[in-house]
């Protein structure tokens, strides 16, 4: 008995004394990206690795980019050679976080969840845990918190959220690994900046806490935005023009983008306070001793919640609750991580204009793409909203067949009209082509590309045979 108890005690002590690495998981992912040029196809399967860590509820937290487009996810425990299959239960592309679950019983036994900490202070020391490239064993790096700022998140491409910069090395494979301080997770390693030495970035507690709270209801919504552009309000003339009392700080609301902002706010409102945070003249707030852009304060709310704002409007203070929503309008301009929508007819491949699609032009896609197309994707909605199309459609390519072989314009052009009908979304193209009553199909393109014409009857006759020739099993994904 005594002997047994001692053993138990030893074992129990062993669990208690388990260092954080016991709960750090190596992730091996087999991914298959879609092919935006030939959207019915996928690219070759590739293997990559990342890191995750166990959190409450038998879940593994990692980066969204580690498991994006995954066909198979294998997880491996510390010093355990057996791989287990995992699946994504939630993924937040905007904050580059994901939660994995493992169905194999017993996987989480003896894996204590790592406790989650709070935002570390600048100059404090942190240690990263992960499985970076260059070996198979777990690796540790330590460094100080260099600064805390809103950073552009590379994975979504068009989101800025809070991020912490450290001089601890964060390399490929580290992604999704915990950053530990005083035994608690104070960050999730996620990106570096090529060419900058001794800089790695991790996702801090305010962001992963927000993500975890968001998924409590079973769905992930994302980080809301105010839907406005703020401008600094430092110029004495502008302050006098808006009659802002000298003892007030505050930044000016220059442009209203979202419906909620248009409903509740006015241009030239002076934003004095967001939630508990006074707004300075340069549009920043003091958040946990860091001077940061006031936009941060809106992202702390959950989708659909209201944020109390104090405004200076028409010479008096106004307090109101601003509902804030996730911006889904700009998904095409970021990486949307949905399988591409497409439609193939008479060999012509139609797909929406997205950043993902443009990246098929090559690494220097932004130099190769026609500036007219870049304008359509990134600027039209803001500068000319009345003429902006909800979903600009590209003729991506033309699968050669005698019926279309004479077409001079064969791809990489934006469709303006088909048979005189303006093409605002993929469904418009399908409708115009399938329900054509004229003997010709006439496609007019944006820019200097003119138009192309096919015989409608020949096109309809050849359609199925072209799909067969090129192995297009489904002529559409909607």
């Amino acid at each position: 008995m005594k002997k047994l108890c001692l053993c138990f005690l030893l074992l129990s002590n062993h669990i208690q004394a388990l260092p954080p690495e016991a709960s750090v998981i190596q992730i091996v992912v087999f991914t298959q990206e879609p092919d935006w040029d030939e959207p019915w196809n996928s690219r070759p399967v590739s293997r990559s690795t990342g890191t995750g860590f166990v959190i409450e509820g038998n879940r593994i937290m990692t980066n969204a980019h580690v498991v994006t487009w995954a066909k198979q996810i294998l997880v491996r425990r510390y010093q355990d050679s057996q791989p287990f299959q995992a699946r994504v239960s939630h993924i937040g592309h905007d904050c580059d976080l994901a939660i994995l679950e493992v169905d194999a019983p017993g996987f989480f036994d003896e894996l204590p969840p790592l406790p989650l900490g709070t935002l570390p202070s600048v100059r404090s020391t942190v240690v990263t845990y992960g499985y970076p490239a260059g070996g198979e064993q777990i690796s540790y790096t330590s460094g100080v918190v260099s600064r805390i700022e809103l950073q552009s998140y590379t994975h979504p491409g068009n989101r800025r959220l809070l991020a912490v910069q450290t001089d601890a090395a964060i390399n490929p494979g580290n992604s999704g690994g915990p950053v530990i301080q005083d035994g608690k997770v104070v960050g999730v390693s996620f990106q570096g900046i090529p060419g900058l030495e001794n800089t790695g970035f991790f996702i801090p507690p305010p962001v992963f806490d927000h993500f975890l709270k968001d998924v409590e209801d079973g769905d992930y919504d994302g980080f809301p935005q105010a839907g406005v552009r703020m401008a600094p309000l430092q110029n004495p003339a502008e302050r006098a023009y808006l009659k802002v009392p000298s003892q007030f700080e505050g930044a000016r609301i220059d442009t209203l983008f979202s419906d909620s902002a248009k409903e509740h706010l006015k241009k030239d409102d002076v934003l004095l306070k967001v939630g508990p945070f006074p707004v300075a003249r340069d549009g920043t707030i003091l958040y946990e001793k860091n001077q940061l852009h006031a936009g941060l304060a809106f992202t702390l709310a959950q989708n659909g919640e209201t944020v109390p704002v104090l405004l200076w409007r028409d010479g008096e203070e106004v307090m109101l609750n601003l509902p804030v929503w996730v911006n889904r309008e700009d998904a095409a301009a970021g990486n949307s991580y949905h399988l591409p929508r497409y439609y193939v007819y008479a060999g012509m491949v139609f797909t929406p204009l997205t950043k993902d699609y443009l990246t098929t032009f090559g690494q220097n896609w932004s130099s190769v793409a026609d500036t007219g197309i870049l304008y359509e994707l990134y600027y039209r909605k803001k500068s000319d909203p009345d003429n902006a199309r909800p979903e600009p459609i590209m003729l991506a390519a033309t699968l050669a067949h005698p019926v279309n072989a004479n077409m001079r314009v064969r791809g990489r052009v934006m469709v303006d009209q088909i048979n005189g009908k303006k093409i605002d979304r993929l469904e418009d193209a399908i409708d115009a082509l399938e329900n054509a009553t004229t003997p010709f199909l006439n496609l007019r393109f944006i820019g200097s590309y003119g138009f192309e014409t096919l015989h409608a009857e020949d096109a309809a006759t050849a359609n199925q045979s072209i799909l067969n020739t090129y192995g297009v099993v489904n002529d559409r994904r909607l």
Partner: protein, 484 residues
């Protein structure tokens, strides 16, 4: 002993006479060097003027008359010419220049300069292949080099948006493109304009000759051009779609940019069947009697000038139609974003540290040779837009010279101006008038929708003093340069 010496003398005599023969290339008396000092502007600092020096060549073509390309003559401060490849430089002046045609006539008032110079003959028809000679002065020697003429090509001119005929040559010689004469037999067949790797471009003498002749007769009205875009009709279904009967021919008009004063009646989807009596094929070429297949744009500059009426046959709505097309005059001011503005310093208005400038292609070229990729997409987008009556051109807030007066605005750059104090701003010369109309002591400057900021406010009362102070601090001699 005398005998060998005599042989040596004879030998030397032969050598020196051969040298003399080589130095007497007949072209040496027709080709002169040009030395040009000119202003070079930095559009990011439009008040700063630097002087650059360039050298090129000219060809004597008439009595006290030298022809050269117009390139590098703009904004000149001093023009000098030299004959014989060495010795004295003579001050010259431009008697006529046309940037669209890329041609200039020069003269020198000092009669001494013209002694020994002989006019060269410009060919009225140029070859389209074979070896030609490039002649120029190089380090005091007269150089005659062979080049291979590849083809004739219709393409955009060096200084303009107008398409015209060019010679394309293979060249292994370095540093070509400075208006060197190309010769064949006893005629000049062209003047070089540029070199890219081993390809060299030149303006053909046939074109130079016709422009100079019209100019001397007073019938030159400037370059005309076709103000429409067209597409090839190699896809026969496009012609079927437009109900063309008979043989497949012609190209299709796709767009006619809005142009004040252009009263031509071409429409989108018209098929151009013939221009000036020449049938147009489905790729847009006509059969030139001198040079074979040429792009139809050449018909706008082939012995035609602005204002000429050119007969066209078009196909519209199932029938042939004859019309006369009046060639609009090429003018940079007709563009929303002008391709160029020559012989004027860059315009700007500095008000309270805010630098306003017209949005022009030379301004966009400040982003470097690949400006069409590197300049902000917002600005490049306007390049393809037509001007409208209410918005013929654009003005940008280019940058802000930091001062306490404009604090808070220092980071605004390259923002297209919409209104100042409620007045629409399209031209740089409207800014100062608009700034005289302040409302309640403030200047309200509004920007186009979608720009990085929508509006800023300045203190009207302190504007004058701030502008003066900022001029001194940043070394601006003038607060504004606005051309008439």
């Amino acid at each position: 002993m005398k005998y060998p010496l005599a042989i040596a003398l004879v030998f030397l005599g032969i050598v020196s006479s051969s040298l003399a023969q080589r130095a007497r290339s007949p072209w040496a008396d027709s080709v002169v060097r040009l030395d040009i000092n000119r202003h070079q502007y930095n559009f990011f600092q439009p008040w700063a003027r630097r002087v650059s020096a360039s050298q090129k060549f000219g060809v004597v073509v008439g009595k006290r008359e030298i022809v050269t390309t117009a390139n590098l003559l703009f904004n000149h401060t001093l023009l000098r010419l030299q004959k014989g490849g060495r010795g004295q430089w003579y001050t010259g002046r431009i008697t006529w220049i046309d940037y669209h045609a890329n041609l200039a006539l020069l003269t020198v008032d000092d009669a001494e300069f013209w002694e020994g110079l002989k006019p060269a003959k410009l060919a009225s028809q140029v070859p389209d292949s074979g070896t030609v000679e490039l002649v120029r002065w190089s380090s005091g020697r007269f150089e005659v080099r062979n080049l291979n003429l590849n083809r004739l090509q219709v393409r955009k001119g060096q200084l303009t948006f107008v398409d015209m005929l060019h010679l394309q040559l293979d060249s292994e010689i370095n540093g070509v493109g400075w208006s060197e004469a190309l010769t064949k037999g006893d005629e000049v067949i062209g003047l070089t304009i540029s070199q890219s790797r081993n390809k060299c471009l030149a303006i053909p003498s046939s074109f130079i000759r016709s422009v100079l002749q019209a100019q001397s007769e007073g019938t030159y009205r400037g370059m005309g051009f076709f103000n429409f875009y067209w597409q090839q009709s190699e896809n026969p279904t496009t012609l079927d779609f437009l109900d063309l009967t008979g043989p497949r021919r012609g190209v299709i008009v796709t767009e006619i940019p809005a142009l004040p004063g252009d009263e031509n009646t071409l429409k989108r989807n018209d098929i151009l069947l013939s221009i000036d009596g020449f049938g147009i094929d489905t790729v847009g070429d006509y059969d030139d009697p001198q040079y074979g297949a040429m792009m139809l744009e050449n018909l706008a500059t082939r012995n035609h000038w602005a204002g000429d009426k050119i007969p066209m046959t078009i196909w519209r709505e199932g029938a042939e139609l004859e019309l006369l097309y009046t060639l609009p005059k090429a003018d940079f001011d007709m563009e929303l974003i002008p391709t160029a503005r020559y012989d004027v310093p860059p315009e700007y208005v500095m008000a309270g540290g805010l630098i306003f400038q017209p949005l022009t292609v030379p301004y966009l070229k400040s982003w470097g040779s690949d400006w069409q990729r590197r300049a902000p997409v917002r600005l490049i987008h306007y390049k393809g837009q037509p001007p409208t009556e209410e918005r013929p051109r654009l003005v940008v807030l280019s940058t802000v010279l930091p001062d306490a007066y404009n604090i808070g605005y220092q980071s605004y750059r390259f923002v297209v101006v919409d209104k100042i104090n409620g007045q629409r701003i399209s031209e740089i010369n409207q800014i100062q008038a608009a700034l005289e109309q302040s409302s309640d002591g403030y200047h309200l400057i509004e920007f186009e929708q979608g720009e990085p900021v929508e509006r800023i406010v300045l203190d009207a009362k302190r504007l004058g003093a701030a502008t003066q102070r900022i001029m001194l601090r940043y070394g601006l001699a003038e607060a504004a340069v606005v051309n008439d």
